[in-house]
Every structure is written in C-alpha cells, then in structure tokens.
Amino acid sequence: MLDAVRCLVARDLLLALRRKSDVGTALLFFVIVASLFPLGIGAEPNLLRAVAPGVIWVAALLSSMLSLRRMFEADHADGTLEQMALGAAPLGVVVAAKALAHWLVAGLPLVVIAPVLALQYDVSPSLYGVLALSLLLGTPVLSLVGGIGAALTLGLRGGGVLLSLLVLPLCVPVLIMGAGSVEMAAAGLGASGQLLLLAAMLVGAAAAAPWAIAAALRISLE
C-alpha cells in the first residue's frame, strides 16, 4: 500500500518535471495576480501592507484552482485512472497520494515564493514565518477539498468554471483563517488561534477528503 503511494507520488513528480511548463504556469499566475493589485489599487505602502495577507491568500487560492483540473483529467483521458481504480491499493489511498503529489507540485512552490511577494507589499519580515506557515497548513486543504471537485467534474464540458464554483465556497474558511492569521500577527496579536483552526481543517480534510474523492471518482468513472 505504501509502495503504491511512493510509486504514484514519484510518477507525478516525474511527469511534472518532464512538463515544467504546467507547473510554471500556475506559479507565474500566482505571481502575476499578486502583482496586479498594487497596479489596480495604487501603491500606497500602508494600504498595501493592509491588503497583503488577503491578496496573497486569494492569489494562492486561485492559482491552486487553476491547477486542480489537471489532478485527474490527464489520467482520465489516457486510461491510467481506470488502472489506478483497479490497482492493488484501495482507491482512497491512491487519491490521497494524488492529492499529495498535487500539493507538492502546485501548493508547496506557493509557500516558498509567498515571502517574495510579501516583500513587494512591504510586509514586515517578522510576518514571513506566519504567512508561510499559514500557507503550509492551508494549501494542502485546498488540494484535498479541490480534489473532490476535480473528481466530480471529471470529463464534463466547461468543467473548469464549474470546478471553481463548487470548490471555492468550500475553501472560504481556509481563506478566512489563512489571511486572518497573518492579519492577527500583523496587529501584534497571537496568530495561534487561526493557525490551530487551519491545522484542524487540515487533519479533518486529510481524514475525510480521500474517502469523498474516491467516491466521486467511482461515480465519474462509471
């Protein structure tokens, strides 16, 4: 069972490595969206500092939406998804591995690059830690919850927009807590309350989402 997880994660990372443009696009999207805000709302430093957590979090959310569709679509098109459903490992474990791989490819780079964007927004360096930690806890939840939407909209016409419509409302609590933690820290208050809630969401999503993704995939594969 663990071998299947290792195998799938390694496979998806290898595929991402051979198709760097896919990974690059999502990351570039994140950077560009976050860079558009100062142009749109003006470069007043106080204003930028105030909106930075929200903007970076929204950009991260949109960027991981963008890459969600790829989680199962390609495997579905070439038939490998059926083989995974007929593999030796339970489908729940398989999709957990897929979500992990998605996060490693689409979520982790956002965590790494977020402090650079924070720099553009003149955010105090003392907040980089909280920002990165909140993204580290929050982005896996986006991959897990998003996986449910990706599985439900598999192969549908206009699935991309529908996927966002289904997943974004479910991700609102993550956004609120993620951006909230940075704001609390910026205000000099403890961010631990929000971070604990993010951790709770992560544990809950890690336990429940693979089951739901597997059920959704079975429905979509029929």
Partner: protein, 237 residues
C-alpha cells in the same frame, strides 16, 4: 420478501409516488396560501410594535422563517441525496433535485431581507461576520449543486455526483447555526430555542411560527410539483 416490506417500499417507486405527490401538492398549496395570509395578518396588524426596534422588526416574520428553511431544506436535501447514494433509490435523488431551487430561494430571501433589516437596525446593509458569511456560502452551495447537476447529461451520474457534493456541503450548516455562539458576531442570538424557550412576546412568536408553517407548506407544494415534473421528464410516470 414479506408483504409488509413490500407495502413499506410501495411509495419508493416513482410511478406510485407520482399520484401521491399530486395529492400532497394539492393539499399543501392552499394550506401555504392560507397560513401565509394569517401569518402576515398577525405580523403586520396584530403584533405590537417592538420596544427597541419599532416597526423595522416586523421583517422577522419573513426573515427568520426563511433562514430556518434555508438551513433545514439543505439538511433534508442532503438526507435524500445520501439515501439515494446509499440505497440506489431513484426517487430520493429526484427529491434532492426538487428541493434545491426552493432552498436557494429561501437562502436568497434570508440574505435579502436580512440586509434590509440590517440597515435601519445595525446601521449597515452587510457586514462580513460569521453568520452572514456562512449563509452566503450556503447560497453558493445550493447554486453549485444545481450547476453540477445541470452540467451532467447522464441522470444517474448527475444524481450521484450531486448527492456527494450535498453531503460534503453539510458541514456548513452547523457552522451557520452556531456561528452566533462561537464568535462575537454582530448578528443577535437565536430568539427561539429548544433549551431556553422563546425570548419573544407570545403574539410575535405566534406570527413567526405561522409564517414558518406557511413556508413549510410552500416548500412541500413546490417540491412535489417539481418532483412530478422530474418524474415525467425521465419518462417514469
């Protein structure tokens, strides 16, 4: 299979449920109209002015029952969806599909009347506090459910995919309900609760309960009409 169990599942089949749905609808629709008239009469003419809020409070006769129904209908919808998914019964999936638009309507009414109420009493149409935000998410969940079902051509897949989404979305309902207790929100607490009873004058409470009953009847009537349409659409009448 014993005779009893056959009888029990008799109405689980769309063909046999179709006439029953018609009969229920014919009873519920006039009941809804009568109750709504009575409720509005109590609310607008009989119930006294509120000590704090004056006349503005009268919107509770629409707002509170609509908000109750918005959450309740979601739970009912998710319940039918789960039954359909677990036992593969076609009728339950149709019920879930029939309830969604009504639920979305009540969610919208709750948000809309709430903002009309918020302006004179709180001083703002909208604040991003936990109760209001989570109710807005509920509206998005209803819309997502309907959009997902509309975009899948195969009815079986549409029913099952929608069911899964409805079940996942159920986590939001307790968040809405308890948000006013968990956070310091601007929204006031519940006026009516099972534990501590009601903190309203009896006639106001009566008006609200009659309106709630009217909304129930309306939901039943509309759901039955819609489920009949779905049964015919799928050629199972």
């Amino acid at each position: 299979m014993s005779a009893r169990s056959i009888h029990w599942f008799w109405y689980a089949s769309p063909q046999t449920f179709y006439p029953l749905a018609g009969a229920i609808g014919r009873l519920a629709a006039p009941a809804a109209a009568v109750l709504a008239l009575v409720g509005l009469y109590i609310g607008l003419f009989v119930a006294p002015t509120d000590a704090q809020q004056g006349e503005a409070y009268r919107i509770i006769f629409i707002h509170v029952p609509a908000a109750w129904m918005s959450m309740f209908l979601y739970v009912v919808m998710a319940f039918w969806a789960a039954i359909g998914l677990a036992f593969n019964t076609r009728l339950s999936a149709m019920m879930a599909r029939a309830l969604a638009p009504t639920g979305a309507l009540f969610t919208f009414i709750a948000l809309w009347t709430g903002s009309l109420w918020g302006k004179p009493t709180w001083g703002t149409y909208w604040v991003w506090d936990a109760r209001l935000t989570s109710e807005l998410i509920l509206l998005f969940l209803y819309l997502g459910f309907m959009a997902l079902q509309a975009s899948i051509d195969d009815t079986r897949r549409a029913d099952r995919a929608g069911a899964l989404l409805a079940i996942v979305g159920v986590v939001n309902v307790p968040i809405i309900y308890y948000s006013v207790q968990w956070w310091n929100t601007l929204h006031q607490g519940a006026s009516v609760s099972l534990k501590s009873g009601s903190s309203m004058a009896p006639i106001m409470l009566w008006g609200m309960l009659v309106m709630a009953l009217a909304f129930w009847m309306y939901s039943i009537a509309v759901a039955m009409a819609r489920v009949r349409c779905i049964i015919r659409e799928r050629g199972e009448a």
